[in-house]
């Protein structure tokens, strides 16, 4: 597994806290409350964040042939 940068680790790790928690990059890099009047900028930031999470996850290589978890496990009594 390749090592992640500090920012990328933060992106993943901070999402833990609160049931989803704050957006990771902002959590690290925004020193004050964002001026929430600029909706376009916030959306651009959120899209960038989504991309950074995608980039971070691509550094964690999966085993060939691994399969996704199922939505639920059917059980019978």
């Amino acid at each position: 597994m390749e090592k992640l940068t500090r920012r990328e680790l933060t992106a993943g790790a901070i999402a833990l806290g609160l049931g989803i928690g704050m957006r990771p990059a902002e959590a690290q890099n925004t020193p004050q409350t964002p001026a929430v009047t600029d909706a376009e900028k916030l959306l651009a930031d959120a899209r960038a964040q989504l991309k950074s999470i995608g980039a971070a996850r691509r550094q964690i290589k999966l085993a060939d042939g691994s399969e996704p978890a199922t939505t639920f496990i059917p059980e019978r009594p």
Partner: protein, 453 residues
């Protein structure tokens, strides 16, 4: 004499006719209106329903036909659970006129056990979907405040459930967790609780945030009360196909569960208050004959990344109509709003990566060869300021396996453990177990909260 506001204490008071369920319900409503209102714990008081349920309970008792220890006991539910004819707003101004015509399965089961629903409790909007940054991401006009100190946040997203119980307005409340939303308010209000195994409790009638992560659980003043409430709400529900057929029961075997501890980063997180409380709990358990052993968590890929991706993907799908509507503009946390909009664009390949890496994370189950339950702090620090964005305050809280445990469906029982000496912010501990070991987690939590002799 001060009435002990636990299920056990109240049940005894009802049985001895010290007070009636109607009187108890009025007392709970009164506490919610007074101390509760100052902390913004309740979105809606369900007074008419509560008094009718309490009256019915008193009538049963008069005939000697009580339904059990929860009969006549008041409780509240996080406002993401459907209640027939009563608004269910999901913490969201944009859902302010939402009313369902049925009760969620959890509410139905509690009603059948005679419990009295007195309030829909406040929460972080949409349980935090999109990623929230401010404690006031609610439909309450502000943050829900910790029962320990009104300058502090009650935690999220089951905020009102935590604060109402911490304030002594209610002996227990129902909350939900996708990744931390029961444990966090337990920690920040100094109370107990249980995040059950995934599939243990029906989610029928609950708002969805992530179909493979959401769990319904209990927050309570006494750890034992979480166990008795779980015994009422757990079990297979045909209306929620993710629910398990496995029964839940508190076992009373003689062998005490082996408690595992990992090397905690107290020093790096400057967490001396947490460390002292943590050591006191271990000492208390050892005195009661528990074996506490050092264990090593197997290395796993980033659980936080996977949770973030899954919640974005599921949340975007579950709330797509709202996200694409004008109502979303009413959200108080504009960063959360932007996060929800952006989440519509999440690549499918990222989502499937998260589900695949989740399979690989099952290797972490190897830790259960070394112990029966793990003991860890919930966070290394106490409750945070209510008036500041989390991006300013979320410092040195630590990574204590909350995302990993949620991804793997593991249960965890929360206990109060310490408090920050300066802010008086409570600090919590958690007993995590393998899937379906809810009873072991609760058993150790009950013993850990016993006062040392």
């Amino acid at each position: 004499m001060e009435l002990e506001f636990t299920i056990g204490g109240l049940s005894q008071a009802l049985a001895s006719k010290e007070l009636s369920s109607v009187e108890l319900t009025q007392m709970a409503l009164s506490r919610l209106r007074e101390r509760g209102a100052k902390h913004r714990v309740a979105r809606e008081l369900t007074e008419a329903r509560a008094l009718a349920e309490a009256k019915a309970s008193d009538e049963r008792r008069a005939k000697g036909k009580t339904l059990g220890p929860h009969d006549g006991i008041p409780y509240g539910v996080k406002d993401l659970l459907a209640t027939k004819g009563i608004p269910t707003r999901w913490g969201s101004v944009g859902h302010g006129d939402q009313v369902f015509d049925y009760d969620a399965t959890v509410v139905k089961r509690l009603s059948e056990a005679g419990a009295v629903l007195v309030a829909k409790l406040s929460m972080i909007e949409l349980a935090g979907g999109g990623g929230y940054d401010v404690p006031w991401a609610t439909d309450m006009g502000g943050a829900v405040l910790s029962s320990a100190n009104p300058a502090l946040w009650a935690g999220g997203s089951s905020s009102g459930s935590g604060a109402a119980v911490g304030l002594g307005c209610l002996p227990f409340a129902i909350g939900s967790e996708t990744s931390g939303s029961i444990l966090c308010p337990c920690a920040f209000n100094g109370i107990s609780g249980i995040r059950p195994t995934y599939g243990r409790v029906s989610r029928h009638g609950a708002m969805a945030l992530s179909w493979t992560l959401d769990k319904i659980g209990v927050l309570s003043r006494a750890a034992g009360d979480s166990a008795t409430v779980l015994s009422v709400i757990a079990g297979r529900d045909p209306a929620d196909k993710s629910t398990t057929f496995r029964p839940f029961a508190m076992e009373s075997g003689s062998r005490k569960p082996v408690v595992g501890v990992v090397k905690e980063a107290f020093a790096a997180n400057r967490a001396s208050a947490c460390e002292e409380g943590y050591n006191r709990v271990i000492e208390n358990l050892r005195r009661q004959g528990y074996e506490v052993v050092p264990v090593t968590m197997p290395p796993v890929p980033s659980a936080g990344l996977a949770v973030s991706i899954l919640v974005d993907g599921d949340g975007a799908s579950a709330h797509e109509n709202f996200i694409r509507s004008e109502k979303i503009e009413q959200m108080p946390d504009k960063q959360q709003l932007a996060g929800l909009k952006a989440s519509l664009e999440q690549p499918t390949v990222d989502y499937l990566w998260a589900m695949r890496v989740r399979t690989e994370m099952e290797s972490a189950n190897a830790v259960w060869r070394e112990c029966d339950v793990l003991f860890r702090p919930i966070f290394y620090q106490g409750a945070l300021a209510a008036d500041k964005p989390l991006s300013q305050t979320w410092v040195r809280m630590g990574n204590t396996d909350i995302p990993l445990a949620n991804l793997l469906g593991w249960p965890a029982a929360a206990i109060p453990m310490a408090e920050d000496p300066v802010t008086k912010g409570p600090i919590g501990g958690q007993f995590i177990g393998p899937a379906y070991a809810d009873a072991d987690c609760l058993r150790v939590a009950i013993d850990a909260t016993r006062r040392p002799d």
